[in-house]
Amino acid sequence: MTDADHTANLTAACTAARLAFGAGSVSIAVITPGGGDLSVDHLHYVAAEGRGSEGILGVRLPAGKGIASYVAATGQALVVDHVADDARFARDVAERTGYVPTTLLAVPITDRNGQVLGVLSVLDRGNSAGDALALGSAFAATVAPLVASSTADRDAAPAELPPQLAALEPEQRATVLDLLDGIIGAVQPRRRGRRD
């Protein structure tokens, strides 16, 4: 699957979520390792749909900044009913998008091991917080394989893979790499080292 395909699929998921929530906007941000200008890990907004979506697309939010970053770090979903009053909110980022929401629901997107891959953010939902949390978790679970395969594609440079793997289609390669991960995890005790 190409990057454009991934973006289209994730954007479609944002649209579905926005309609289901009756929300102003929905976005998906993916955890990206630090490097280059950003020495710390950051959240990269790769898909968005609704109000302010053009402004948030492509934004890279460093660790420690914003509610989504908090959710990525802690792995805990968060419902905030008065965003303006919340110290975690990155108001400057929201203002640059031209859309400052009143409420925000942010849910971690995790892989099947519980590893946080990214964050689904729902701005100004139309339903109650209790309903929204369950719905948000369901949407996060739905998009998780898409996000996982996009990050797997990004992390796996075909030139560095054995020729048999490099020859596979990205989706096939992701499946084989997943299987290999499972096999390696089963036969090799995880190394745990420490340095004071």
């Binding site: 390792p33 770090a73 805990q76 919340d86 519980g114 590893q115 080292g193 340095r195 004071d196």
Partner: protein, 283 residues
């Protein structure tokens, strides 16, 4: 006012509460005996979290701090001693709650949630191991992982803590999904309960939420000297950690099993707030 309820808090909020047999055995344990002077003097309490803002007025200083990092080139944990900040405010919130309940504890910040957003289960496990290696009495874990690969690592650490008499207090995830190590029997697992204030808490016979404490719509310390209103099991766990610090301060050498008995007796004499106030059952 928040209208959602964190996962595993339901038994405390149902009407009537669904907590199994009554707490306590009717032992002659009261608050005065359990807590002594209630200061927690000399008790070493670690907060494994996002760091602590030592200058926040609710925190009242941090006596020791270590940053747990992962070597990006390998599989090693790196421990950096010395002051650090709190990128997220979450650890500062926990510290403020514990300090208010047991003002003379030694607070130790073990930062495992920092600038690295991936691989937090790795940092988390090493942060907990650091606590066991450094004579900590009570550890607050207002975080959990869903990473099954780490289940055996945490089981080992929990067994070691229990055998060495270290009290691990762990918040359950706010969502009903895998929550390691809070769903394991070796920790004092905590969810939210509609109790009157932080002086009171509840005991639940039904796993995995063993203890219920105030965590909904609470004012907590945050970064940059701020205070925010927040909800979640994360803010209930430090309440139990604070009570345990008091008990350990009054009864040096007490074991985790003995502390459970004392807590259950105290829960039996705790007061309920209006059930359902401030939250409703999730659908």
């Amino acid at each position: 006012m928040t209208d959602f309820l964190p996962a595993w808090s339901e038994p405390f909020y149902s009407e009537p509460p669904d907590l199994g047999a009554p707490a306590g055995l009717g032992l002659a344990i009261d608050r005065e005996w359990a807590y002594g002077d209630g200061s927690g003097r000399g008790v070493r309490v670690a907060i494994v979290d996002s760091g602590i803002d030592a200058d926040h007025p609710d925190v009242g200083g941090v006596q020791q701090a270590v940053d747990v990092l992962r070597d990006p080139e390998g599989e090693e944990a790196i421990f950096v001693d010395g002051p650090h900040d709190d990128l997220y405010g979450h650890g500062t919130a926990c510290a403020g709650i514990i300090r208010a309940l047991a003002p003379e504890v030694e607070l130790i910040s073990v930062r495992v949630l920092g600038s690295n957003l991936k691989g937090s289960a790795f940092n988390f496990s090493y942060g907990l191991e650091w606590c066991l290696d450094h004579r900590v009495d009570v550890v607050n874990l207002s975080l959990s992982t869903g990473n099954d690969d780490y289940a055996d690592v945490f089981w080992e650490l929990l067994d070691r803590a229990t055998f060495e008499g270290v009290m691990l207090v762990s918040a359950l995830n706010n969502e009903p999904k895998r929550s390691i190590p809070s769903e394991f029997a070796g920790v004092f697992s905590v969810a939210c309960a509609p109790v009157a204030d932080r002086e009171h808490f509840q005991f639940n016979r039904s796993a995995p939420a063993e203890w219920g404490a105030l965590g909904m719509d609470v004012d907590v310390a945050w970064g940059d000297g701020q205070t925010i209103n927040a909800s979640g099991n994360s803010f209930a766990a430090p309440v139990i950690a604070g009570h345990i610090a008091r008990i350990v301060g009054a009864h040096a050498g007490i074991t985790p099993w003995q502390v459970r008995t004392v807590l259950a007796e105290l829960a039996a004499i705790s007061r309920w707030h209006s059930p359902g106030a401030g939250a409703r059952l999730a659908p």
